[in-house]
């Protein structure tokens, strides 16, 4: 890094003389650019249209969630996690809830775990739909975008049905769920799956066989397995490079141990492999949700009965002094886990999401660190983009599928 100006603005890794000598241009891609999927800034050094060097600049969406969580009670901090990876809030909720539960040592009823699996997989479908739509759009296939968003809308309708909001649901809470499933929810999920499954075929028809798409993605943005491991890549990005690793299978959380699913792994490591891995994951998610439907009863217990962690039902506080006290204690103070720290990882749609929560015995997290999947994926961009054309940049960005809220937190 030869040129770091006093203001800290990154220009390029090259000096002005080097740029002039080689005839390179420096081009700012972002933070306002249609294809950086948020507010990522890439400082590209171009030789014609060929990328010589790329310096990612992040932090435009830094909201200080980790700091804010330190002054919120555990339950309040849950609402912050929604806003990190805003395309997969329920996965974030799940990771956070599992971490807090581990910190507290609470046991979660089996039905809750199954519902959590179902919601997390539906979330994966919705998140992958955004990825598929935007990566289609970035390559110029504009209808893909609207088809995929329509399918995502259907998933969000489901979330709205149970939680009242479409995106920032906060539905999975430490100790269980916010509420029980609504009446007929499982039927709606089934209806959605029946509607959605043929659409996967449609997407394959629109893109997978299309030679333009193949040409745009094959051998573009190749990441080797070694690089993937060295740069902490996880999830579909690593799996497309041949790293056979999936938290759902290898560190089963919630009720994933009870489910039968495959972990798609490809070895090419290019954008097309990432595309195919995610497409296969869609199939697997549908499969998992179908299994969920057979395991979940339409109504029943939806949170732990540990009154120190979750509030008693409303009708009970009108009857029981103790419940009323629990209710008040929980909503004023919350709960205070014993000192210690936990590291809890889940497989979010983008890869490994881990909550590293340190407790000092108070009712607020002493420190909450989030290992987000997107963060290392942005870091690896210069490695992947080296020597590609400008048009490949957007395809690679889309195929890696990061969310800037997740990167900057």
């Amino acid at each position: 890094m030869s040129q770091t100006m006093i203001t800290g603005d990154i220009v390029s890794r090259f000096t002005q003389e080097q740029l002039d000598q080689n005839g390179y241009t420096v081009m700012n891609m972002g933070p306002q650019h249609p294809s950086t999927h948020g507010v990522l800034r890439l400082v590209l050094t171009l030789d014609g249209e060929r990328v010589v060097d790329c310096v990612p600049d992040i932090g435009f969406l830094h909201t200080g969630i980790e700091k804010t969580a330190e002054v919120k009670t555990y339950n309040q901090a849950l609402t912050l996690t929604d806003r990190m990876d805003y395309l997969a809030p329920l996965s974030n909720n799940l990771g956070y809830s599992l971490a807090v539960e581990k910190l507290l040592g609470v046991n979660i009823p089996e039905r809750v775990s199954h519902i959590r699996v179902m919601l997390a997989e539906l979330q994966r479908i919705s998140s992958h739909m955004v990825w598929l739509g935007t990566s289609g759009l970035d390559a110029g296939a504009m209808s893909m975008f609207l088809y995929c968003f329509q399918d995502r809308e259907r998933v969000l309708d489901l979330f709205e049905n149970i939680s009242g909001v479409r995106m920032m649901t906060s539905f999975i809470m430490p100790g269980g769920l916010m509420a029980d499933l609504t009446e007929g929810f499982l039927d709606k999920v089934k209806e959605f799956l029946d509607y959605f499954e043929p659409h996967i075929e449609m997407y394959h028809g629109l893109l997978t066989g299309n030679s333009i798409w193949l040409n745009r993605t094959k051998k573009v943005g190749v990441l080797s397995a070694e690089q993937a491991k060295d740069y902490l890549c996880t999830g579909p990005v690593a799996r497309a490079s041949g790293v056979d690793w999936d938290i759902r299978r290898d560190f089963p959380y919630a009720a994933y141990a009870d489910y039968d699913f495959k972990v798609p792994v490809l070895t090419e490591g290019d954008s097309f492999a990432r595309y195919m891995v995610r497409m296969a994951e869609l199939d697997e998610s549908v499969k998992i949700v179908r299994q969920c439907l057979t395991k979940i009863s339409p109504s029943g217990v939806y949170r732990t009965d540990d009154r120190k962690v979750v509030a008693p039902p409303k009708w009970e506080i009108a009857r029981s002094m103790e419940s009323l006290i629990h209710h008040f204690k929980l909503f004023t103070e919350g709960y205070a886990p014993t000192p210690g720290e936990v590291f809890q990882r889940v497989e979010s749609p983008r890869g490994e999401l881990a909550f590293h929560i340190t407790s000092d015995g108070s009712n607020r997290p002493y420190r909450m660190h989030v290992r987000t999947p997107s963060f290392p994926h942005v870091q690896v961009m210069p490695v992947i983009l080296q020597g590609h054309l400008l048009a490949d940049v957007v395809v690679v960005l889309a195929s890696v599928d990061f969310v800037l809220g997740d990167v900057d937190r």
């Binding site: 088809y147 916010m178 066989g209 409303k314």
Partner: protein, 192 residues
């Protein structure tokens, strides 16, 4: 050349998909002529509820203010007097402000409310030109006099066992705890 033929077939497949989709009915709704139906649990703008006798449900316990992750609620409680019995309990909320610009619609306030006084209802068309217009006060939050609804409470809560009282009237619990004052308890052995 054979690849070209294969490619052309694949391209044709894509074209046929978009053509078939053109013949489908659009999935969008023309707003504002048509509005979609919100599910019962929709978390929109807050509403403060009343009992059937017109008294406010809110007893000014500050639980919602305390639990709000965004700090969007501000309450100033005041004592009820015998000639001005605003709420069912001993105290009521003199000031009840919700800053809709801060609110994140997480629903924690309705979870926290012991008397089901505050709920999030399906009014999602919230907009304003000034910050002040989006800081709404008790008068805007309260449902009009003469109406008494439970709002989305029933959509969230598990159904109580049939023996449970239908709504909170303070009769079966420690009334002091929710600001019911020293009104005599109708049943013996409140608590368990």
């Amino acid at each position: 050349m054979d690849e070209v033929i294969k490619d052309l077939i694949a391209l044709g497949k894509g074209l046929s998909i978009t053509f078939r989709n053109m013949l489908q009915k659009p999935v969008t709704i023309t707003y504002p002529e048509n509005k979609r139906k919100f599910p019962a649990r929709t978390r929109g703008r807050h509403v403060l509820h009343r009992y059937e006798d017109g008294r406010e449900r809110c007893v000014g316990c500050l639980l919602c203010q305390g639990t709000c992750p965004a700090g969007a609620i501000y309450i100033e409680p005041a004592e009820n007097t015998s000639d001005n019995q605003v709420s069912a309990g001993e105290r009521h909320a003199k000031v009840f402000d919700v800053d809709l610009l801060r609110c994140i619609y997480c629903g924690h306030c309705e979870l926290a409310c012991p008397t089901n006084a505050i709920t999030l209802e399906n009014n999602t068309a919230i907009a304003g030109y000034t910050r002040e217009s989006l800081l709404i006060h008790k008068e805007e939050l309260l449902e009009p006099k003469g109406t008494s609804t439970l709002g989305s409470t029933q959509a969230w809560d598990p159904k109580p066992p049939s023996t449970a009282p239908k709504e909170f009237d303070g009769s079966e619990t420690s009334s002091a705890a929710v600001g019911q004052g020293n009104r005599p308890s109708r049943t013996k052995g409140a608590g368990h």
